[in-house]
């Protein structure tokens, strides 16, 4: 997913305040206008790709048994797949405009409802994976950047390369075998122990367990988050650490850092206040991109840890040629990624005064 560059955000200090607001509104409108063709592109792409993939949902329903051509035609008509492709696409778009993403071919449930059931699990896992990646990746990158060439620097670079190249499936199973089966410290998979019967009111297990007042349920849910968060957060952790290091290296060579040092500021202040703030720009971009990756790309982690999220759902829907679920799922995920990127663009201005003050 490409981050769309921000362009001018807010006016200089000297300009009247309302002019700044106007620019901001103009900027927002422009960004929203750019989203519309993106959406059309997404619907067109997902629709045509999933329909181009060989495979017939009706044959998959019948399996080895096979069905007669008459029954095949009847089922196709029931699913609306007998109409010309253009008509099917037009129906799909009409549905979206009416807020209707259709019903799953397999479960016969509305796609939006299925998404809402599964999305909190993905969001909860992605949130913790990102926290894990940022909490470890940011300091590791900063220290590696400041102590360039040291043993710590080499270790961070080596480990992050290993983390980045790690096959998720292997890594997940390794952690399960060591921590869950051998040591017995963490649960193997799932979101909570089978002994707790928690109602999925919000879908966020931590919140639901707190609301349930069942003793031990919250701790159980938290323990179930540990391994999947580590596995899902490994690649973002590696990316964030490497990006923070290289951004720090670049910023530390800037004139204003030398000036700050010359002024006699403490090394801590030079690094944390003057250097880090500027180094954070590309890091935030990367974090934003990784959020998108986490939301859409947790498929393997969700499969290993039997995590009931949207990634696994979309892949299963592709395998079953469940067209409405694939189209709706990808559209919803894409919308979220676009929103995250928009938020990232906004954040630049907050973090970096140079952007905030430039036209």
């Amino acid at each position: 997913m490409q981050v769309i560059s921000l362009g001018p955000l807010t006016p200089r200090f000297s300009e009247p305040k309302f002019s700044g607001q106007l620019l901001m509104i103009k900027f927002l409108l422009r960004r929203i206008a750019m989203i519309i063709p993106t959406f059309i592109g997404i619907t067109l792409l997902t629709f045509s790709l999933i329909h181009m993939v060989p495979g017939d949902p009706v044959e998959l329903i019948a399996g080895e048994r096979g069905i007669t051509p008459e029954r095949h035609a009847e089922l196709k008509a029931d699913l609306g797949l007998d109409k010309p492709m253009l008509v099917q696409y037009a129906n799909y778009i009409r549905g979206i405009l009416h807020g209707n993403l259709g019903k799953s071919i397999v479960t016969k449930q509305p796609v939006f409802r299925e998404f809402l059931t599964l999305f909190p699990a993905t969001l909860e896992l992605s949130f913790f994976a990102l926290i894990f990646a940022v909490i470890l990746g940011l300091p590791a990158g900063i220290i590696a950047g400041v102590r360039r060439g040291s043993f710590f620097d080499h270790s961070v670079m080596g480990l992050s390369l290993a983390g980045y190249s790690m096959p998720i499936f292997w890594w997940g199973l390794l952690l399960i075998l060591f921590f869950s089966v051998f040591l017995g410290w963490t649960p193997v998979s799932g979101r909570i122990s089978a002994l707790f019967w928690i109602d999925a009111d919000t879908g966020f297990m931590l919140i639901d367990t707190l609301r349930s007042n069942e003793k031990g349920a919250f701790i159980s849910a938290l323990r179930h988050l540990i391994l999947p968060s580590i596995v899902l957060g490994t690649i973002p952790l590696a990316v964030i650490a490497r990006m923070t290091r290289s951004a720090m290296l670049e910023v530390l060579m800037e004139d204003y850092v030398r000036t700050a040092r010359a002024k006699g500021l403490s090394p801590f202040r030079v690094i944390m206040v003057h250097a880090l703030r500027n180094a954070l720009i590309p890091v935030i971009t990367v974090i934003g991109l990784q959020t998108g990756v986490l939301l859409a790309g947790a498929i393997l982690t969700e499969t290993i840890f039997a995590w009931p999220g949207v990634g696994k759902w979309i892949v299963e829907s592709i395998n079953r040629r469940d067209y409405p679920s694939v189209q709706g799922g990808i559209l919803l995920i894409s919308s979220l990624i676009i929103l995250v990127n928009l938020a990232v663009d906004m954040l630049y201005g907050v973090v970096n005064p140079r952007i905030r003050h430039n036209k």
Binding site: G55, G66, K108, L173, T186, R191, A194, T303
Partner: protein, 531 residues
């Protein structure tokens, strides 16, 4: 030193905090392999769906005795078949209670209205419930029920009569299948009046041993024992399906004590499972057959000698060793040995490349020919690795001069193209639905099935006549004789190379008692206890 002590203390605290909670004695956790497509078994054909719906929640008029393919009375105490074989009168069991759930409290016991509702919903296209929830009754249609049942008559509250268009010997076995699970007509009426008919399929009410309490998609299904179950309440109070798609993770959960029973282990893990002192590994021959079908409509496979020669050229034992890793048995008949009428007297073609080459020369192909082998892209109990199997067959045929190219397609495409007869030879298989020989022989090799499940496109009148005769004969001894004869003809004509019947393994923790392997591949927890 102090630091080391502190670290050790912290580790100990972490270990205590992270230690697992031991399972309650009467909760059974089953690590199922996937999510059900829904909870109305009439709509679907997948075993995963039946495990979560028809097996715990529902009963049928006729049931299969657990662990066998024998039919026993279920919600019907007994039945009488008219001499012409066209009328089936079912006498229903009294005092059977439906589940009480959060949106339904039954006011009456199970009766004839429920039977009529269940079948009429599937049969009558004008029934108010026919189109609810999409309304595709795949099994009802494909087993021929839609064309077979003339009408269903309620004689009194506890007597129902099925009038058939023609005699149908496998009828009792067919209505013991999952799609014929009995729903509550009273619940359906209530939901229709409330304007939410689809609730009947989403939050089902049955008479089965377990009540559905909660379903969290792709995560867990929770059931509680039905205290007023007509066969006596289940010994397990709470049954939890923990949905775990990956076989290695299921095994890790079983080892860690997070689940009691798991299905579909990786063949590579079986040896380790057998050694594990906390786990017992049950096994049973599966009700299935894996085969290679010749497209008998295409040359040279229309020539019986070619089919026989190629059958002789395949080393089946090598396939059992390499593909099934020992967890399979060589198949000589198209039906597995666990099905009645299996003809053990049939002699399989021996593995004999020299004789095969000679026979091929007799058929007019002394230098062999070129062909293809279609290999399925998916794993199935009857064929865990079709690609590997195809490679072995390719090498075997190469020895007699037959050059085969391995072809594969995406699964849906594979099924579609093979149904249309594009292949020359293909690998496929079948798992039985109801334990009746007709469910293998007529479904897969009957003339009517050409263009659907008969991938050999083999329509051989002497064979087909025997099947048709057996289908209208109610005398089991006579049917057995006819099917035995049919198997002899099948072997002579060799439309398939029957390759293997797989062995099904069920790993479970030692504390699980009375678990019986279902020959249909299902997982049934009624009767199971936890020590």
């Amino acid at each position: 030193m102090k630091r080391l002590k502190l670290l050790m203390m912290l580790c100990a605290i972490a270990a205590i905090a992270l230690a697992g909670v031991n399972a309650d004695a009467k909760t059974c956790v089953y690590c199922s392999e996937g999510s059900p497509e829904g909870f109305n078994p009439a709509f679907y054909t997948a075993g995963t769906t039946f495990d979560a719906s028809s097996r715990p929640i529902f009963d049928r008029l006729v049931l299969f005795e657990l662990g066998t393919t024998k039919t026993i009375p279920g919600l019907a105490e007994k039945w009488v078949i008219s001499p012409d074989g066209k009328t089936y009168t079912f006498y229903l069991r009294k005092g059977v209670k439906f589940h009480t759930t959060k949106n339904f409290t039954p006011t009456r016991d199970f009766n004839a209205d429920d039977v009529v509702f269940t079948f009429e919903r599937q049969r009558d296209k004008n029934h108010p419930y026919h189109k609810v929830s999409g309304g595709n009754y795949e099994y009802f249609v494909s087993t021929g029920m839609a064309a077979l049942i003339q009408n269903i008559e309620k004689k009194d509250d506890y007597t129902v009569v099925f009038h058939l268009i023609r005699p149908e010997a496998p009828f009792i076995a067919t209505i013991a299948m999952d799609f014929a699970s009995i729903f509550s007509a009273e619940y359906a009426d209530k939901m229709m009046k409330a304007g939410t008919p689809q609730e009947v399929d989403l939050n089902p009410v049955g008479t089965g041993p377990y009540v559905l309490v909660q379903y969290q998609k792709d995560s867990t299904i929770r059931y509680e024992a039905h205290k007023q179950y007509w066969r006596g309440p289940a010994k397990i109070d709470k049954l939890v399906y923990s949905i775990t798609p990956d076989a290695s993770v299921r095994y890790a959960k079983l080892k860690a004590g997070e689940c009691h029973v798991m299905p579909y282990p990786n063949p590579a893990d079986l040896a380790q499972m057998a050694k594990d002192k906390d786990i017992k590994l049950m096994q049973m021959e599966g009700l299935n057959v894996g085969y290679l079908a010749f497209n008998t409509e295409k040359k040279p496979f229309d020539n019986v000698k070619v089919r026989q020669a190629l059958s002789m050229a395949i080393n089946k034992q090598a396939i059992i060793d390499a593909v099934f890793q020992g967890a399979g048995k060589i198949a000589k008949n198209p039906i597995p040995p666990t099905i009645w009428s299996y003809n053990d007297k049939v002699k399989d073609y021996p593995y004999d490349p020299v004789a095969a080459k000679k026979l091929l020369a007799e058929a007019g192909f002394p230098n062999g020919f070129e062909t293809d082998i279609w290999a399925m892209p998916v794993q199935r109990p009857y064929n865990p690795n079709a690609r590997r199997m195809a490679e072995i067959i390719q090498a075997d045929w190469d020895k007699i001069g037959v050059k085969a190219k391995i072809v594969t397609y995406e699964w849906g495409e594979y099924l579609k193209r093979s149904k249309e007869g594009e292949h020359q030879t293909l690998l496929l298989g079948w798992t039985g639905d109801n334990g009746d020989p007709d469910n293998f022989l007529a479904v897969l090799l009957g003339c009517e099935a050409v263009g659907s499940a008969n991938r050999a496109r083999w329509c051989y009148k002497p064979f087909d006549d025997l099947l048709k005769q057996a289908k209208i004969t109610s005398d089991v001894a006579e049917r057995t004789r006819l099917y035995e004869k049919a198997q002899v003809i099948f072997k002579e004509q060799a439309p398939w190379v029957t390759i293997a019947h797989s062995v099904v393994f069920k790993p479970m923790r030692n504390e699980v008692v009375n678990f019986k392997i279902d020959p249909f591949g299902g997982h049934v927890f009624y009767g199971v206890d936890i020590k």
